[in-house]
């Protein structure tokens, strides 16, 4: 299979790799760059488990060709914690039992982060809209909605 060189920033670190031409970003992040946090649930754009940020925009890595990400800044949920200190969203997901099997969690948290970056003080409807592209087969969504609202409140307390 022909290989194509790509260079990108993944979670703040410059990376360079030869990737299969036509490979999706999801496959390259997981199999080549060793970050297995984005999950492949459907490879059809329907589940949201593969959600990452590319140049600050939430996208589905299963529908993006890695070759189109040359020079891009890509972040997965792995970028959110540092030295074992969890991001407020991660802590809120844990404390609100917003993860059961955990398969949807990396995508949910990236969708939630993308919301809070735009709207730090979201309404419940904003939250529902923000995670409308993410499927969870375990929790029934309510704990996830509560976790995101809790994290938003925690953020506004620290900001105050």
């Amino acid at each position: 299979m022909p290989k194509v060189p790509i260079q990108l920033v993944l979670n703040g670190e410059e990376r360079a790799e030869f990737v299969d031409s036509g490979a999706t970003l999801l496959k390259v992040i997981r199999d080549k760059l060793g970050d297995t946090s984005p999950k492949g649930g459907c490879h059809q754009g329907t589940c949201g488990a593969c959600s990452v940020e590319i140049d600050g925009e939430l996208k589905l890595s299963c529908l993006v060709l890695a070759e189109t990400c040359g020079g891009a800044d890509v972040s997965t949920v792995s970028s959110l914690s540092s030295d074992g200190v969890l991001h407020p969203l991660q802590r809120a997901f844990m404390e609100n039992f917003a993860a059961q099997c955990g398969f949807c969690t990396p995508g949910m948290i990236m969708a939630a982060k993308s919301l809070l970056d735009r709207i730090p003080d979201p309404t419940r409807d904003d939250v529902i809209e923000a995670i409308s592209g993410n499927i969870c087969r375990c929790t029934g969504y309510e704990p996830i909605i509560q976790a995101i609202l809790t994290a938003a409140r925690a953020n506004s307390l620290t900001a105050a």
Partner: protein, 266 residues
């Protein structure tokens, strides 16, 4: 199966490359990369044009031009495009809207193409090979005459305040796939009757179509329950709705007049 990606700085060079067998234009990729993931064996090459004009949004003197690579998210947040933002926001969830392009929506088969329905009601023109063609012709010929063309952008006049209406009917909220989508641009005469109406329907054929019989019947009517009734009775005339897991063709024909009525009387 190996897939190659070819990037071209100009739309002309990309158009030439699209003539090869198995070549497909790559917009945001939400439909074509999905097709590749699902094992579409006919796909050999993705072709992409990187001309910066593809990403431009210009609004001046009420005339709008959207480059074909403009995404639903950038339309939804554009301060001068609030009149058509509901149609852009109707497409998918937030991540899909950050990827889904105007060009791709024009070629998206039903039940997709919600934004194309809005553009059809706005009487938009599509830019192909340097000329402007009516959107209706592009949509009707997208699988045949225009199958290997690249749309560079679309142009339309910004609708007058309150004249543009859009509704997407879906079972799952907030981001379900369309049972149908309806867009209408309605110009009123000073006496409070309809001067002219353009109504576009999604899912009522394999591509977005105009409801011409209903448009003609609306002219001269007041927008009240009694006067719009004849137009609603004609809403599905000439349509051949799709049948898919969301709804049958029969159901779509049955509910169209109800939803068109709500949109006109809202």
């Amino acid at each position: 199966m190996t897939l190659a990606l070819q990037n071209f700085p100009s739309i002309e060079a990309a158009t030439a490359a699209l003539a090869s067998p198995g070549a497909r234009y790559l917009g945001g990729g939400t439909l074509v990369v999905r097709a590749a993931n699902e094992g579409d064996v006919e796909l050999r090459t993705f072709v992409r044009a990187t001309d910066p004009r593809l990403n431009d949004i210009t609004v001046s003197d009420g005339a709008v031009r959207l480059g074909a690579s403009v995404t639903m998210a950038s339309i939804a947040r554009h301060p001068q495009l609030s009149a058509i933002a509901p149609a852009a926001r109707a497409v998918g969830g937030p991540a899909i809207r950050n990827m889904a392009t105007v060009g791709g929506n024009l070629f998206a088969p039903a039940p997709y193409g919600d934004f194309a329905v809005a553009l059809l009601a706005l009487d938009a023109k599509a830019e192909i090979d340097g000329s402007l063609i009516p959107l209706e012709d592009l949509l009707a010929g997208r699988a045949t005459r225009y199958a290997s063309s690249i749309v560079a952008g679309v142009s339309f006049g910004l609708p007058a305040q309150g004249s543009f209406r859009f509704a997407k009917v879906s079972r799952v909220k907030p981001k379900g796939i369309s049972v149908l989508s309806i867009a209408a641009t309605i110009e009123m005469a000073p006496d409070g009757t309809v001067k002219s109406a353009r109504i576009a329907l999604g899912c009522m054929a394999d591509h977005p179509v105009r409801a011409r019989a209903a448009e003609a019947a609306l002219a001269g009517c007041r927008l009240d329950k009694e006067e719009v009734a004849p137009a609603l009775a004609l809403a599905a005339e000439g349509t051949s709705p799709i049948t898919d897991p969301i709804a049958s063709a029969w159901y779509r024909k049955e509910v169209l007049p109800v939803h068109l009525g709500r949109l006109l009387l809202s």
